[in-house]
Symmetry: C2
Subunit: 459 residues, 2 copies
């Protein structure tokens, strides 16, 4: 767990000895993300102390990298005026998230110490619905009017830049704050000083909407290799930007959520957070898993009735131990289905498959299942006949059951995530365990049906 | 599949009518990524024609977004001199990847038309081992000596910029090309003209090594919110950068690979490529799945022997239909195990869990399994006793079997990926089907052992 084990004892000594200036100097030499890591390693109390000792600007930057609980604790332990100064220096999106976590009275007390414009900015950013572009965008960007000359534009950026996190790209807006172009700082630097901003700005703008899903917005940033994507409201006014680093965080979070969901673990209630493995108690882990597990357990009880209802087959052919083959057969179905659902979820996530492709995809997957089933079925036949010395007829039962189950599992494994997408459910919620459980019951029916047909017909 | 269904017929008409200037003009208004999409939608032949009609610079940009096969086709269809001009305008990393795909004679023929420095740059970039930082970095960056004044630095960037993809960040190198600092264009613009570059550059540099794993490099870009990360060779010389957009692509590819692996599908032989769902024939899909499926099938055959060897228990307690409970019991084990392995792979990928945490993690997961097993076991008891009207003793057998299987499945589901990491195997290769299959056999043994103990003891 400790990522900086050699540093920690030395730093703890500095903290306990009250050597604040040495500590602050040492930490200030590092990247804020690295300082945040050291602070997490110091533990709750000492980590908070170290964070409080940092110089103002460094403190504000490190805040973006430490855990939300610590942010809240540190801000709540400060006089409201100091907390306000800290918020003033923090990035606009991170401070809005932080304010959302404070209790309302405390937030009011702190915000009262800020200028009205800044207070309103925080309140507005904090008010967007979680999961939308609005909730992840920042208002730290520079705007320029189109009529300015390049020299005037550069002067303006120089004047305003201390307040802006980024001026790498400037957003060109008209009098109504409608976005009309984007101009990279690079172009301003390279252009002749008297040229107008409007003449050098990019006009083909890739943008997103305030209420767009945050994952869709992040995918756009990825697809078009953007530095940041401008976010527009319903009347095309520029209201914020989502930067490449935040887009990357969103994609990472969404994809690790997908991995959990594929394993059959429910998402955290607070989906804006990326749950740490160690965070929270064991009982929280239980709560996130019991839902699916219980549902699948109840669905799985059907298998007992199915097998029980075919008991007469076992009795009629008492010399064959049907039941001993069941785990192998339904296990193979579950495995084939898991492969398929993983492949389809990935294809959907990358946009390579559309719900409209359903018939083609399902046909392709069932064909794949047919070939896999022929291969495994042949091996199953040889295993049953030669190794277990059962009759060739029963070997054929096993082979055909494997074939049927593979085709069926691949069909279900492709159909279910595609249907989920069609009805608006996240296909990534279709888990490997769900497909396995669905295939278990039907696999049993396929097995016994083939056994009845072949053994009674050929008997 | 068609993302621009309305455009395609109109564009096909323009192509067939030979209206090349109208076509080129229309496409040039769009973002290169969007043009690439339209070209893919036009199909092979017409798409290639449209790509050939684009103005030089746009053509070079679009090349980065179309599929590798098309890149190869288009370049091979050009006279070598034209292909060389196209390579000259392409981004340094993408053209190196392209040259790697051409056959050697063809590549030589084209490269002969380029200046020596450019030829060497391509050959060097193309020579790094796939999967390393070297193989994904680009050499499109600007360098500055530390002794230059800000005014001189800006003049120099203006002079050189037509040849550079990015000047947003300049890399400050000493006479030996060792990296000593990084200076954002923003800082140059904001600084006074006579200040030295050395006085305003960032000195705390986050960098990576030429032979670092590409995923580790991408994670660093993500963690430190970098615009690009400089890549150093063994003697600390700057040899390239990996930009944020390429880092994002790498993370996306790695994570979708993880999803496939978790489903039990092998990675493509050519792991540098992101396989498209539709690309390749069905037989290729079969080849990527049969390996795991066959191995798991063979492992699964053990279950048949296990059940067969407990046949005497069935015979001794003929009034109980043991076998009818098997799919439910081992299915529950597979589901619990899949949940756990998904959780652990995610924790490992995010760096929240280290292999040194193994005892703590396994203990925590087994405790989680214990609680889940108590809950599901209670329900299993009630189901067996009240609903199926079996004896309370057999209800207890089912309950304890569920409990034991859940604890065991969670232990295996956490231990296996942690062990994989410890011995240097990618833990993401531990799939849900693998864990299910491992748990199947042991689950059967747990079930029958508990049945023997309870039924014979209490009988």
């Amino acid at each position: 767990m400790l990522r900086n084990p050699l540093l920690v004892p030395d730093l703890l000594e500095l903290i306990h000895a009250g050597e604040t200036s040495a500590l602050s100097e040492f930490l200030s030499d590092h990247h804020p993300a690295h300082v945040a890591e050291i602070i997490e390693d110091l533990g709750d109390g000492e980590g908070d102390s170290a964070l409080r000792l940092l110089p103002d600007r460094m403190q504000a930057e490190v805040m973006s990298y430490v855990e939300p609980e610590r942010q809240v604790r540190v801000v709540e332990g400060m006089p409201p005026a100091d907390a306000a100064s800290l918020l003033h220096l923090m990035s606009h999106d991170d401070r809005a998230h932080l304010v959302n976590r404070l209790d309302d009275d405390r937030a009011d007390e702190i915000l009262r110490n800020l200028a009205q414009a800044e207070r309103e900015d925080i309140r507005r950013l904090a008010s967007y619905e979680p999961g939308t572009a609005g909730a992840v965008m920042t208002t730290d960007y520079a705007t320029l009017p189109p009529g300015l000359s390049v020299r005037e534009a550069l002067d303006r950026l120089r004047r305003e830049s201390p307040d802006r996190e980024t001026i790498d790209y400037s957003y060109v807006v008209d009098a109504a704050h409608k976005l009309v172009g984007i101009v990279p700082l690079k172009r301003l630097v390279l252009a002749r000083p008297l040229v107008k901003v409007a003449d050098i700005m990019q006009r083909d703008i890739i943008s997103a909407r305030l209420d767009d899903d945050r994952e869709a917005v992040a995918r756009k940033v990825d697809k078009y290799d953007l530095y940041a994507i401008p976010i527009l409201d319903a009347s095309d006014m520029l209201v914020g930007i989502v930067t490449h680093d935040d887009a990357m965080d969103i994609l990472r979070q969404e994809q690790t959520e997908d991995m959990l969901a594929f394993g059959g673990v429910s998402a955290d209630a607070d989906s804006a957070d990326e749950g740490d493995y160690w965070q929270g108690r064991v009982i929280q882990g239980v709560r996130r898993r019991i839902g699916w597990l219980l549902m699948l357990f109840l669905a799985g009880t059907v298998t007992r009735y199915v097998i029980h209802s075919f008991d007469w087959v076992d009795k009629r052919f008492a010399e064959i131990d049907f039941d001993a083959f069941i785990p192998l057969l339904i296990g193979t179905g579950g495995n084939a289905g898991s492969q398929t659902v993983g492949t389809i979820i990935r294809g959907l996530a990358l946009g390579q498959i559309q719900p409209s492709d359903t018939p083609r995809v399902v046909a392709r997957e069932m064909l794949t299942g047919l070939i896999l089933g022929l291969l495994l079925g042949t091996i199953g036949f040889l295993f049953t006949w030669l190794l277990l010395r059962e009759s060739p007829t029963f070997g054929l039962v096993i082979a055909l059951a494997i074939l049927g189950i593979c085709v069926w599992a691949n069909g279900i494994g492709s159909l279910v995530p595609l249907m989920a997408r069609k009805i608006g459910v996240d296909p990534a919620l279709v888990s490997a365990p769900l497909i396995s459980t669905l295939v278990d019951t039907t696999g049993l029916i396929i097995f016994y049906s083939i056994a009845i047909m072949l053994l009674i017909r050929l008997a």
